[in-house]
């Protein structure tokens, strides 16, 4: 599904990703771990098409298509979803109208008719319950005045409604208490399916107790320096990143 080869990315001339290779097949869950500043969030930004990131070398193929040539919304239409580390507020635009516009934009791309207001409302309410958000949040401005945990649940709500093919969760676990972490994990686990790939970007191993990854990669200095199974995460938890990054350097 996703094939990243020799990816080099710079921000304002500074190299952040430096020859990253990664291949993910449908149905897999990959965890990307690494110390702060290793380039984890840059990877998420480049996959979703954020401005200001320049791919200087290498490629990203998504279902055989060059992902880097696409605008952010075109990637979204093709099923790429990013759960933001810091979700932004949009005052005055209600969550409900935002979600519906988004879902309908994706449906339109698939050649499906727009949702009916009533059906969508039912679905949105049910999904709210699933992620532990009061349905009042649907009437409030997007992330407007939400707490950190509520913002993350709101990201999950969007992910469940949009049913992405490739979901990238950028430190969705940071700043969450144990209950919220469980809710996020349950949400992600319900999305696991044979057609879908999930990338979990995280600094800590604890999320991986709830979402068991197929592969774990350690990112450092802009490239993957070690890959392994879920046991790699436990090893990192025990030893920290030092032994790996030093070995790589």
């Amino acid at each position: 599904m996703l094939k990243i080869s020799n990816l080099h990315v710079t921000i304002a001339g500074e190299t952040i990703l430096n020859g990253l290779d990664l291949e993910i097949a449908a149905g897999e869950v990959h965890a990307i771990m690494g110390p702060n500043g290793s380039g984890k969030s840059t990877l998420a930004a480049v996959l979703s098409g954020r401005e200001g990131y320049e791919v200087t070398e290498g490629s990203i193929e998504y279902f055989g298509e060059d992902l880097t040539a696409l605008e952010p919304e075109e990637r979204a239409w093709r099923g790429v979803f990013l759960a933001f580390q810091y979700p932004v507020e949009i005052p005055g635009v209600t969550n409900m109208e935002f979600l519906r516009a988004s879902v309908d934009a994706l449906r339109a791309h698939r050649g499906e008719a727009a949702t009916s207001a009533v059906d969508f409302m039912k679905l949105a309410r049910a999904t709210c319950k699933q992620v532990g958000l009061d349905t009042d949040f649907l009437k409030r401005g997007v992330n407007e005045g939400f707490s950190g945990g509520e913002k993350k649940r709101n990201e999950l709500l969007q992910m469940l409604l949009l049913e992405p093919k490739l979901a990238v969760l950028d430190e969705t676990d940071s700043g969450l208490d144990i209950d919220a972490l469980g809710v996020v994990a349950d949400g992600v686990n319900t999305l696991r399916s044979a057609e879908r790939a999930i990338i979990l970007i995280t600094h800590y191993q604890r999320l991986l107790n709830h979402i068991v990854p197929d592969r774990v990669h350690v990112l450092s200095g802009g490239r993957i320096i070690r890959s392994g199974g879920k046991e790699l995460a436990l090893e990192l938890e025990e030893k920290g990143y030092g032994w790996l990054t030093e070995a790589a350097a």
Binding site: E51, A76, V88, S102
Partner: protein, 491 residues
């Protein structure tokens, strides 16, 4: 460092802006219709001609002449934050009427079909059976009212809704009593000009205790070339009555600037409520600032009686220059004045708009919510006055004034005047400015919305507090108008 990224965005922005500017003004066509138009120029004879053409009583002619003579002594105002070449008032024609209107039609069946088609094209069908239920329309084409619908139905409840020309014939005493009482011709330069040469407009009278059974609305359309439009609207709400009035405006696309200098006067007696909503979409001119309407309007309401209520809601997206301050004089104790405004300026548009709330009565309250959006190279100013007089014990005002900038070559300005002379009154004013942030735009795009849809959604969210105040049909129209106006404004 980050400057490269910014420059890149600018370049992208430009292409999108260019794309946007190629958009055509949707109401920009001209109706091919025979008109009786006065040659350009203004003198006492022109004033007399207009008055005679309308068969006006002598006092009206005299009042016009006084206004004209006073206008001659006045200077063109310079204080607004707008720039335009000096207007040559002698190059304007002060009267233009569709020829078939010579003998005013008695019913819609007699209206020139070309005119009816004009209004249909604008989305305002004048045939009553085709109308949205519950909206009566007065259609003003260039200088004259061409049709007023639902008159008989309104008459059943005693509501008078007709053109001001007809009102001068049929209800001269009412007109004489109120015209110029709220906006005297001495008020300002354009009010004086309007008083001298006004050609038509709408007249509304709601008798005591009557809740007007439907929304009233006027659609203004400037068609003829080199023509000024000077309409005058007068709405009187007697004790305990209610009325909601809507106003819409469009004009063809022309290279020359056209002048629109209207006067609107509202009077709300004890316990009466007037809600006046405007969606203004005059032709704004092209991307270089050629052409477009100069919209210099004086709108003022008097809360004459206790607990009277006047509410102005406006969505201003058109005109090359807008100069407009719908105001409320809060004379009756416990009266309420409101002003809700969305002003969007793009291209080379210049808007200087706001309100005045003059608190005279005790416990009077006013609310001002202004949302200004500037895009491309436009200049958008809020100018407002809140005056608390010594007599206004316990008066309260709340003002919220927000500006949204789209692009780094436009301007957004706020000029609030607060004058308080009563220690028991409270005035609160807040102003903020923001932009559509890259993060907001990116979130929307990541969720599958194209940039235009994303911007329009964010801007609509920004304006929500005002749209909420519009009557339903207008709210939808306003949202759409904003969306159209914003297309491509962001890259």
């Amino acid at each position: 460092m980050s400057e490269t990224a910014n420059q890149k965005r600018d370049v992208d922005g430009d292409t999108a802006i260019d794309r946007h500017l190629e958009r055509e003004y949707e109401a920009g066509w001209v109706t091919d219709i025979e008109s009786d138009t006065l040659p350009p120029g203004l003198d006492e004879d022109v004033v007399r001609f207009i008055s005679a053409k309308k068969n006006e009583p002598e006092w009206m002619t005299e009042w016009r002449l006084e206004a004209y003579r006073h206008w001659l002594t006045m200077d063109h105002p310079k204080w607004a934050h707008v720039h335009y070449p000096k207007i040559d008032f002698n190059s304007i024609s002060y009267f233009s009427a569709p020829r078939s209107q010579e003998d005013r039609p008695k019913s819609l069946d007699e209206v020139d079909p070309e005119l009816l088609r004009t209004y249909e094209k604008l989305g305002i069908p004048l045939h009553e059976q085709e109308m949205l239920a519950g909206v009566a329309v007065d259609a003003v084409f260039d200088s004259v009212s061409v049709a007023t619908t639902f008159r008989s139905k309104l008459a059943e409840s005693g509501v008078i809704f007709c053109s001001i020309s007809e009102a001068l014939q049929d209800y001269p005493e009412l007109v004489r009593k109120y015209m110029g009482s709220i906006v005297p011709y001495r008020d300002n330069y354009f009010a004086a000009l309007n008083s001298a040469v006004f050609s038509d407009g709408s007249f509304v009278y709601i008798p005591e205790g009557v809740r007007c059974p439907m929304e009233l609305s006027t659609y203004f359309r400037i068609n003829a070339e080199n023509t000024g439009q000077f309409e005058r609207t007068l709405i009187i709400a007697e004790e305990g009555s209610h009325v909601s009035y809507l106003e819409g405006c469009t004009a063809p696309q022309r290279d020359e600037n056209q002048l629109h200098a209207a006067v609107v006067e509202l009077v709300a007696h004890k316990n009466a409520k007037i809600k006046y909503s405007t969606v203004q979409n005059w032709y704004p001119g092209d991307s270089e600032g050629r052409g477009g309407i100069y919209n210099f309007v004086t709108k003022r309401g008097l809360c004459a009686g206790e607990r009277s209520h006047i509410s102005w809601t406006q969505v201003e997206t058109g005109s090359a220059i807008t100069w407009k301050y719908p105001s409320v004089i809060l004379r009756g104790d416990d009266s309420v004045g409101e002003f809700y405004s969305v002003a969007l300026a793009r291209g080379r548009q210049q808007a200087d708009t706001g309100t005045k709330m003059i608190h005279l009565g005790k416990n009077t309250r006013s609310t001002i919510i202004s949302k200004g959006i500037s895009a491309v190279r436009a200049e958008n100013s809020y100018r407002g006055l809140v005056r608390i007089s010594p007599s206004a014990d316990g008066a309260r005002n709340f003002t919220q004034c927000d500006s949204l900038l789209i692009g780094d070559r436009c301007g957004a300005h706020t000029f609030p005047y607060i004058e308080s002379r009563n220690p028991t009154a409270t005035v609160e004013h807040e102003a903020t400015t923001s932009k559509v942030s890259d993060d907001q735009l990116f979130l929307c795009r990541q969720r599958g919305l194209d940039p235009e849809k994303a911007v329009s959604m964010i801007v609509n969210g920004f304006c929500k507090d005002v749209f909420r105040e519009l009557p339903m049909e207008f709210a939808v129209e306003a949202g759409k108008l904003l969306e159209i106006s914003l297309e491509g404004a962001v890259g």
